[in-house]
Amino acid sequence: MSEIESVGAHRRNFLKSLALGSAAVGAASAGLFTDVATGTIGVPAARAAGNIKMAFIQWQPHTVSSAWSKGIEEVLKTQQTVDYRLLDGQNKVEVQVSLMDTLINEGAAVIFLQPIDSVALAPSIAKAKRAGIAVLTLNIDATEPHAAHVEMNHYFGAMDIAKALGDKLGGKGEVAILNAPPGIIIRDQRTNGFVDGLKKHHPGIKIVADQSADWSRKKAQDVATTLLAANPNLGGFYGVNDSMALGAVDVAKTKGLIGKLVIFGNDGEKDALESIEKGELTGTQYTDVYQQGRFAAAAATVLASGLVPATAFKQQGKLLMPYTIATKETVASIQPAQRW
């Protein structure tokens, strides 16, 4: 029920976000920002005095957030008037909340946020909105409406992975999930997406094991080795992130199972793409994270102009990043500059 609703809402938001996003990107390429951004229309007086402050609160030090930050910086660098910095949430919701508070107090114009949890950061987002700050969420949406949300959808992505993985396996066989411990919502969305995806597209495939490997390539090697011993007929692995999938690849390599095992990751980091090219990793969900960061930054500059007050967002614009399920067949289309 609620799923269908959310999908519906999704569509509507998608249109809205397309408009917003293309406006931002268009503006960026037209080089219009400096003028707009330095304008004082709607910008609180405190902010107008100095440079505009923007900050990105990441989940924890990680390749994805690092690439986002680079993408954001690339755009913001072109603006002399923006101070941008990256803050670390240390994988703790309460740290993210405290950083939000600090940024609100500091009078940031825009906060990029990769929330650890959709609900837990909602009160902070509401508070930021009251202070006239535009919040852009990255990848994880928040239950509180906010300025914009730029995401590579995890749930649908994982469903697509399930489909691709099932196709490779010919719709039957056994697979195992290399999972992460609960506590960050990405993990739940990807797991659920994968499970639902298999149910929908390939009901013949059985998930024989779902074990935690702590997001870690090393632990994934260990767990994958063990699972292969227990399940000799195992046909594939789904790693909830690329690191864990690459751990399974490492094992497949030493056991000479490359080509026999179907291994999918999630994220699309450059090591994973390289591995796909070498024919080791079967596939991953790829999105251009730099681009995602650039979009976010572009949207941010519009928002910072104050033309659209942060409080105006009853429902955030969603910018859905196009993603591809990168496999050997498609990986070549991803340019070196797009790899992170």
Partner: protein
């Protein structure tokens, strides 16, 4: 009657750990035949190698009533530093030397503060945990640094000799070397003396502070070796490796091996058993696809139970 049971228990108590390992091995083997395959058994050793190396290296520290919470970030830092060295074109032995020397140096800082300034090890190494992690992140950033085209380096973690993974061989070498140090060198006796009675050791003319300093250096070295093995095993180096909790796993292994956190008698060989015990547990529960929540509860319960049994004997 009662007395004879007690006597029996006392005779059995030192063997409690090997017996417990046998029991769980048997239990897992019965419920999942795949458990006992040679591949899986080697796999278990490979899985515990990194924790094992650190646990072995930390055993001496714990025997003297100390603790080293800083091993996680040291593991990360040594991997990152070695990677940077290799990336800069430094020859492999030198790069490894840099990584290991860094581990020793951090251990020595711990050791100097603990042994010579007399500050509590748990807080000193907790502070160092924070300092070293911050330094590693400043140095390496949040990125995963891929190790490419370094066959010799990759061999450390991923190669194998006669079918035995090199990491297992390194683990075995460290274990044998440290058992040797404990049994055959004066350092082994000096550590035991400090653990049993530090005052008496000082009054017997031992340079206890220097000894303690060297033990923290050994622990740092162990973490650095583990860091190199891990980064080689996963073909990447990152400042975020050895995440929070690594040190607790290491300490749990040492304590399960019968070394008391209050200091005192301990043995490297038994630490190896403690490591294997945890390794077998993890492996068995993975193989039986036990859900994570039950795994954690079982792990906690088993640590409590096995230590309570050990306590019962005394």
């Amino acid at each position: 009657m009662n007395a004879s049971i007690q006597a029996f228990g006392r005779r059995l108590a030192p063997q409690a750990l090997p017996l417990a390992i046998l029991v769980i091995v048997a239990a897992f083997a019965l419920s999942e035949p795949a458990f006992l395959t040679p591949g899986n058994l080697v796999g278990i050793v490979r899985q515990v190698a990194i924790t094992g190396i650190m646990a072995i290296a930390m055993t001496f520290v714990i025997m003297t009533g100390g603790i080293d919470l800083s091993v996680g970030p040291v593991l990360a830092l040594s991997g990152v530093v070695t990677w940077f060295s290799l990336d800069a074109g430094v020859p492999l032995p030198l790069a490894l030397g840099v990584g290991l020397a860094l581990g020793i140096a951090i251990g020595m800082v711990n050791g100097v503060i603990v042994a010579f300034a007399g500050l509590p090890p748990i807080i000193v190494t907790l502070a160092m945990l924070s300092v070293v992690r911050g330094s590693a992140l400043i140095l390496g950033g949040p990125d995963l640094h891929s190790i490419r085209g370094q066959e010799a380096y990759s061999f450390i973690g991923s190669g194998s000799v006669f079918g035995i993974p090199v990491s297992v061989l390194i683990f075995a070498a460290v274990a044998i070397a440290m058992v040797f140090v404990q049994r055959a060198t004066p350092l082994g006796l000096r550590v035991a003396a400090i653990g049993e009675n530090e005052r008496a050791a000082t009054l017997s003319g031992h340079r206890t502070r220097l000894t303690k300093l060297s033990l923290y250096a050994i622990s740092g070295l162990g973490a650095a070796i583990a860091g190199i093995v891990q980064s080689s095993q996963v073909h990447t180096a990152s400042a975020t490796y050895g995440e929070f909790g690594t040190e607790l796993d290491v300490i749990a292994a040492v304590v399960l091996g019968g070394t008391s956190l209050m200091g005192g008698n301990g043995s490297i060989a038994r630490t190896v058993m403690g490591v294997m015990f945890l390794g077998v547990m993890n492996n068995g529960m993975n193989i039986l696809n036990v859900p994570l929540d039950i795994q954690l509860i079982a792990k906690g319960a088993i640590i409590v139970l096995s230590l309570a049994l050990g306590e019962l004997k005394s």
